[in-house]
């Protein structure tokens, strides 16, 4: 009986320390509950991550899908690409459905271009298939999907969810209106970039200072909502 209690205590301790890992069943699934407002304001002792990292669930758990929406989503995705490479040592792939990727800007944001696999798939079906191949290959630790406009094929989208359940990879989707459905998203974050500030002498593509507001969104709108605001100062 004592051993059982000790085991339970150890499990509780681990669960408390690693909130993004489920101990039983499917370790690749992250819990869906977003961070509550009170939790974000008063950081717990164990999790010393900044609020923004906690909100977006960084570092993303393997097998998880994060949907980023709103203005500033691309900026956040680029930073994630840079950090996945440097901190997690993962290969990164970018499936570009709109051909909007700007390599000099990504490089300035810290993305390692030499190790980034970029794919251009203007057809949504083919793009989803490419994402599926990348995830299933297990060779890329982070796949960022910038979907092309159009309605996703339900079958392909569901297949993508299934692949994600099995693959030890991470998927970040830049959500655009009415393009992307039926993929099991573990976490959905809306970003809002506002009040750009310019600093003189910056390169021409540098809206150098910006504020970023992020809120986790739930599918049904029932979960508690948190709002994190960051003032990000450029150099």
């Amino acid at each position: 009986m004592g051993a059982v209690l000790a085991l339970q205590a150890a499990k509780d301790e681990i669960r408390r320390r690693f909130p993004h890992v489920l101990l039983t069943g499917q370790p690749h699934l992250r819990p869906l509950a977003p961070v509550a407002k009170g939790e974000l304001e008063g950081e717990s002792e164990e999790d010393l991550r900044p609020p923004f990292e906690r909100l977006v669930g960084w570092p993303l758990a393997r097998g998880s899908c994060l949907a980023l929406g709103g203005r500033g989503a691309t900026s956040l995705a680029w930073k994630m690409m840079a950090r996945a490479r440097v901190e997690l040592g993962e290969r990164v792939a970018y499936v570009d459905g709109t051909r909007a990727f700007f390599p000099p800007g990504a490089s300035a944001a810290g993305v390692d271009l030499k190790s980034l696999l970029w794919l251009h798939c203007p057809d949504l079906g083919k793009a989803l298939r490419a994402v599926e191949l990348l995830l299933a290959s297990r060779l890329f630790g982070l796949v960022v999907f910038d979907p092309p406009p159009g309605q996703a094929n339900d079958v392909l989208a569901r297949r993508l969810s299934l692949v994600l359940l099995r693959a030890p990879s991470r998927l970040v989707v830049l959500e655009r209106p009415a393009t992307y459905h039926n993929v099991r998203v573990h976490h959905r974050v809306s970003v809002e970039a506002a009040k750009p500030q310019w600093i003189k002498g910056q390169p021409r593509c540098g809206a150098a200072g910006w504020e970023l507001l992020a809120r986790p969104l739930s599918a049904g709108g029932k979960r508690p909502e948190a709002l994190v605001q960051l003032s990000v100062g450029g150099k």
């Binding site: 810290g110 191949l133 290959s137 450029g234």
Partner: protein, 533 residues
């Protein structure tokens, strides 16, 4: 097992200087003297882009190209691979620099192997300019090792190829013996003495990544003898499965018999439908077992499919339709081939009921070696093989030019600042993980606060946009929306010396609905280049 290694010195130059190819081969087959004399490699270097020359193609060497190979005489004059052509010409004006031609080199290699096969039945291709000959089968014919060596030396001399020879119990030992010999010399490693022969030699001789070699030096494994004496299990735990191969090579263990070079008949499978196939799915259903049999035949030889041809015959006797599938790397799996053919077949209509089809393997190549007893996962052929396979499948989806890695380059206009390269050209190296970030339980050293500004999403090409500008040419209404704030202009000059008037004045413009645009003015026209996001 005894193996004779024949290594042609300065192979790339010999291959280029000795290009009579088929003529020489035919003459040799007839037992005639070779039409060409001994190859004299003078002050030469090879520079430029790799690849086979196409018919009629003339490839030039530019001053910025780097030297790929340098002849011995050129090396004595201070030239080395990696120098630019301009630097080489500066040091040695009379040097002859030619572009590479892999097609010609391949042809010369085939000729080399064909000629050796006249003298011995089992000859294996050992890579550029190297061949292995099974000695045991011809020992009686030539009167022992001495006779064999003399025969091959005289043959190479007759064909005009400067060479070195090595005889040992395995491929690596024989090649090492040949490398250590001088021109026209032979080094024979006695039977059972391979390990002793290799022991004092440096680990540089092994085909290892320079970084790994450096770490081997650091832990004291600087000779092949030390490596052979090390625990394979520990090395495998540290460096992966490949380390087991290094230990085997260093210990002169090579138990695989030589694989003859004889050209194989083209592999083909024909299928006759009882009832003509009218749908792509029916075709694919029949194609899968056909491909499976081809793949398993090749896999048994350690080879995979590069290129295959599907020929469809129609019931109404129309001209057969051919579909050609080419992969970036050879594959030993059926699934990518089926996927590729599905894409090809779904791309075009079947013009009628298909009565039969043929599948021909046009080109095959060696698969990556499998060092463990079992593959990593069913069907896997090592990470590099899996990557090549993945890239091949993705290329079918994106088409050529739709995939790769970006490389920045100096450019005047924003759209000229990068180029797309094939994956792996620049070489990727995974950085080590920073400590304590795996689960995010510690404060991260770099956070999302470290901003460099908003990301810029560009349009594939600048689009004309309606802008009302003030008298000082600053936008105040863009596409019907009021401008809240504007930064700029940032001027980018065009190539005026070429007569291209492409001066652009860039503005970062914030609209009242929160959109942050990247606009430019050229003359009196306004263009939208991108959106900050």
């Amino acid at each position: 097992m005894r193996i004779l290694c024949i290594r042609i010195l300065e192979w790339p130059f010999v291959a280029l200087c000795n290009p009579r190819g088929r003529a020489g081969g035919v003459a040799a087959h007839k037992g005639e003297a070779s039409p060409e004399g001994p190859v004299e490699v003078g002050l030469m270097a090879i520079a430029g882009k790799k690849g086979a020359l196409k018919k009629g193609e003339i490839r030039k060497v530019a001053p910025t190209h780097k030297l790929l190979f340098v002849s011995e005489k050129a090396r004595e004059r201070g030239l080395f691979p990696g120098m630019t052509v301009a630097q080489a010409r500066g040091l040695c004006p009379e040097i002859e620099i030619v572009p590479p031609d892999e097609g010609l080199e391949q042809e010369a290699m085939t000729l080399f192997l064909e000629r050796l096969e006249q003298a011995a039945p089992v000859v294996e291709d050992g890579g550029p300019g190297v061949a292995y000959v099974e000695v045991a089968s011809v020992r009686e014919l030539y009167g022992g090792i001495g006779g064999i060596v003399r025969t091959f030396l005289s043959l190479c001399e007759k064909w005009g190829w400067p060479c070195t020879l090595g005889v040992a119990g395995g491929r690596f030992t024989a090649l090492t013996a040949a490398v250590l010999s001088g021109q026209g010399e032979v080094r024979v490693v006695p039977e059972g003495k391979g390990r002793e022969f290799l022991a004092p030699l440096p680990v540089d001789l092994l085909p290892i990544d320079p970084e790994v070699r450096r770490t081997l030096f650091e832990v004291g494994l600087d000779t092949l003898g030390a490596l052979a004496a090390a625990s394979p299990a520990e090395l495998v735990a540290r460096y992966g499965d490949e380390a087991a191969l290094w230990v085997a090579l260093a210990a002169a263990v090579d138990e695989h018999p030589l694989c003859g070079h004889k050209p194989r008949a083209p592999l083909t499978v024909t299928h006759l439908f009882e009832f003509a196939a009218t749908a792509v799915s029916q075709l694919l259903f029949a194609l899968e077992p056909a491909l499976s049999s081809l793949v398993s035949t090749l896999r048994a030889q350690g080879r995979g499919i590069y290129t295959l041809l599907l020929r469809l015959h129609f019931e109404d006797g129309d001209r057969p339709v051919e579909k050609r599938l080419s992969l970036a790397e050879p594959t030993g799996r059926v699934r990518p081939l089926v996927d590729g053919l599905r894409l090809l077949l779904e791309g075009g209509d079947l013009s009628g009921p298909v009565s039969s089809f043929e599948v021909l393997v046009f080109r095959d190549g060696p698969l990556d070696g499998q060092l463990g007893l079992f593959p990593e996962r069913p069907g896997a052929i090592g990470e590099s093989g899996a990557m090549a396979e993945l890239l091949g499948r993705l290329e079918l989806l994106t088409g050529r030019g739709g995939m790769g890695t970006y490389d920045l380059k100096p450019g005047r206009q924003p759209e000229d600042c990068w180029r797309l390269l094939p994956w792996g050209v620049k070489g990727e190296k995974l950085p080590a993980c920073r400590k304590g970030v795996k689960r995010g339980i510690r404060l991260l050293p770099g956070t999302f606060h470290e901003g460099q500004g908003l990301a810029l999403r560009v349009l594939p090409a600048p689009e004309v946009i309606e802008v009302e500008a003030s008298r000082d040419e600053r936008p105040y209404v863009v596409d019907g929306a009021s401008v809240v704030e504007t930064a700029g202009p940032f001027q980018v000059a065009g190539d005026w010396w070429r007569g291209e008037d492409d001066d652009r004045f860039y503005f970062e413009t914030l609209l009242d609905d929160g959109l942050l645009l990247w606009l430019f003015r050229r003359g009196h026209s306004w263009f939208l280049q991108g959106v900050f996001d």
